[in-house]
Symmetry: C2
Subunit: 456 residues, 2 copies
């Protein structure tokens, strides 16, 4: 609508500056040292929601970080959209690889560089500014609720309880989430599924102290060697995961879906060049897009043990630790796979070591039906602003709370994401293109308009 | 001799305090930040040698850390003993496991806890105090030279050049080193061999940046997984090293030596309990003492990659790195094994990653003949002060400069060590028993006396 366009053209610079202010708050949910920053960030969002025109906003404390709830109810008989987003971000490490401060946003070549610029402060904030656009132009046709949490990056440990205890408050006809990516601005896409997650940590202890590797080398199990052998045992030569039962519940994608996926634009050479690798690597029998979308995976997220400093130290270490996570596909259960992983690593350890294994967090895989009102409204909105229909794709990431919302609220989730795979999510130099930020603010009002129309 | 005993009884407290002062200098050769501490430590040893009564002392700068040379020449026609030791120490990390500051020595239950207390400041300083004893009691019967370097823990990169350029200065009839351990004060022993060393570092690079493990998991090689597979490939199910050619040059110990070794006191249960492990682990077909003495080994000294902080980060890291070292036995060449390791890890890497591999340092294995004058003098000295003859054993550690001294000076090395395997060398809470320190000071003068007598 022209009124939206006019309003946004006049205000986009301010929208951007407001986002930059939000990005300056180091809201790292994983770190205890940032606890007060989390509160600061929640209060900042509360303020921005009020400025945008919500009727009501409240910060709900949890056992972890607070949840910000806001709502604009124009008429209880109209359709209601619940927008979910998160204001917490991943840790910024390794800091030395950032070209600018992770919490000191800079704009280079039309891109906003900062931790959280895309995941998810930038994408979440598009919804706040879309609401403002509709309110200021008197064009809001439905009710909008916001549920913005601060623990997505650590597995949303307290959101489940909150949702279960506030079903009436959160009641909606659809949940709308912008926390995924487009193929490109030229090739819009909508994620129809996200993978689930099981995230564990295992610590191998050999001798009760670090030993001299000459005096003791050869006598006792080296925990790094044992950990390496345990990790190596998880994949066979075709990169299939060998943990017994891992694939048991996998609901395979249909041949039709695989055909559709194969039709999406993809250039392997460009993909390799972007990542700087000479060859890709993964489960035999599946394409790259299939491996990141419809297949479960097991990735090492971190490892450490022994001497990691300058020079050489001839130590046989006492401990070695790894962070390991699996991405899950429909019909796999996060709880079941987590239990499987924990028991696997404990079981295969040789008698010379002890294994401490525990769960970090998990989330169920999720699929959204493409014939739902929500999906159709999102597809039409994107077609309106991009000039072409979006391609349905499967995202490789995880949004653990999808299954939770569907279970507690009985509604479907729609993923309307405006990031790009090249946005360096969870990596140094995370960025969000300003053009994508504005495109989101432009598209979201259409979603609400079409959702209202299609619901009637 | 009673005069020695009397002198030492009167002065032992002072000897101990002098050692504690030396231990307060954080002379970590591996770390650039300790460069000035290395100079401080060298100057302190210079001062102590002069106080002990050497005629001449000089600090020789090198491209790395300085070498301290001192000498007491009573008569050029008398036998000359060259004492080698080192004033540098291993890094103290992990600091959180120390019960007291690594450079703030404390005495608990008759044990001196500090980095370098045993390896090698404490053992080196016994020779300084033995010299003082002989000079002050007018009982010195031979010439003594000291060569105390500051780079033993980083592979003595500059000692070779120094020795080659100062053959006349260092000329001696035997090299005496106290940098090894006794079985116990009840069971004295002398090392007749030390293992060689090859120490390398390998860094695996996958994608050119850290990636989101959901978006990219399954698409590209994870460098931690690849590194784990590479490490796991180095040992088979019997813990034999599988790297082609690794055992090629190994000169097997004789059946006679293996029988002698089997006769040394050893209690597997006590050994396990001391290390806190339920089972030992190592190369099949060899006893624990054989595995740490006469067999080559390959140990992981350190590993790191990806997220190692608090909580969970779903990252697929760009890099993973490991520090790896092999201990070598007679007839293996450090240079050859290092080249073998470097080429092995480069060769087995899959095409999706790149491998940077480089050498930290190495040293040749060394064996000393038990029929030499030096060995016989050491054995008789220990028999005099311990009341029983020492058992010849093979040490698992490495003293890289042995082969160098033999080659450049044409003399044999004698290892007369007074540490214990339980001294936590290279580990947190390194210690040296005061009793062992005093026993060394008591025994060393006998070595010089017997060496002079036997040489005539």
């Amino acid at each position: 609508m022209q009124v939206w366009k006019d309003y946004q053209e006049k205000n986009n610079d301010r929208f951007l500056n407001e986002l930059l202010a939000l990005l300056r708050i180091p809201s790292v949910s994983a770190k205890a040292e940032n606890k007060s920053d989390m509160v600061t960030c929640a209060k900042s969002i509360e303020k921005r929601l009020l400025e945008a025109g919500v009727d009501k906003v409240e910060i709900y404390p949890t056992e972890g970080h607070p949840i910000v709830y806001g709502e604009k109810i124009i008429d209880p008989s109209k359709p209601t959209v619940l927008v979910y987003g998160h204001y917490d971000v991943q840790p910024a490490e390794p800091l030395e690889l950032w070209k600018s401060g992770p919490f000191d946003p800079v704009i280079v070549d039309g891109k906003i560089f900062a931790r959280g610029s895309c995941d998810d402060k930038g994408q979440m904030y598009m919804h706040v500014k879309a609401l403002e656009t509709m309110i200021q132009t008197n064009t809001l046709t439905n009710n909008i609720k916001f549920c913005i949490e601060g623990e997505e990056e650590v597995g949303s440990p307290n959101l489940g309880k909150f949702v279960a205890q506030h079903k009436e408050l959160l009641k909606a006809d659809v949940v709308l989430i912008s926390d995924t990516a487009l193929i490109s601005l030229d090739t819009p896409s909508i994620d129809i599924g996200v993978r689930g997650l099981s995230y564990i940590e295992i610590c191998i202890t050999g001798p009760n102290r670090d030993l001299h590797s000459g005096v003791y080398g050869g006598a006792v199990a080296n925990p790094i060697t044992i950990l390496a052998k345990m990790i190596a045992s998880c994949h066979d030569e075709n990169n299939h995961i060998t943990i017994p039962g891992f694939y048991e519940d996998v609901l395979a994608a249909s041949e039709e879906e695989r055909k559709l996926m194969a039709g999406a634009p993809y250039n392997e050479k460009e993909f390799e060049d972007d990542l700087g690798v000479k060859a890709l690597w993964g489960e035999k029998g599946f394409t790259t897009n299939e491996r990141t979308g419809i297949r479960p995976t097991l990735e090492l997220n971190g490892i450490w043990g022994g001497y990691q400093g300058e020079g050489a130290k001839t130590v046989l270490p006492s401990k070695a630790t790894a962070k390991i996570s699996a991405r899950l596909v429909p019909n796999q259960s996060s709880e079941k796979i987590t239990a499987l992983l924990l028991s696997y690593f404990k079981k295969i350890a040789p008698p010379g070591v002890t294994v401490d294994a525990f769960e970090h967090h998990g989330g169920e895989p999720y699929m959204t039906p493409i014939d739902s009102v929500g999906y159709r409204a999102a597809a039409k909105a994107m077609e309106t602003t991009f000039g072409k229909a979006p391609i349905p794709v499967r995202g490789g990431g995880s949004i653990p709370i999808c299954a939770l919302f569907e279970k507690e609220l009985g509604v479907k989730i729609v993923f309307m994401g405006f990031g790009l795979d090249s946005d360096n999510l969870h990596s140094p130099n995370e960025k969000f293109n300003i053009e994508n930020f504005y495109k989101g603010i432009e598209t979201i009002p259409y979603f609400h308009q079409y959702f209202t129309e299609m619901s009637q």
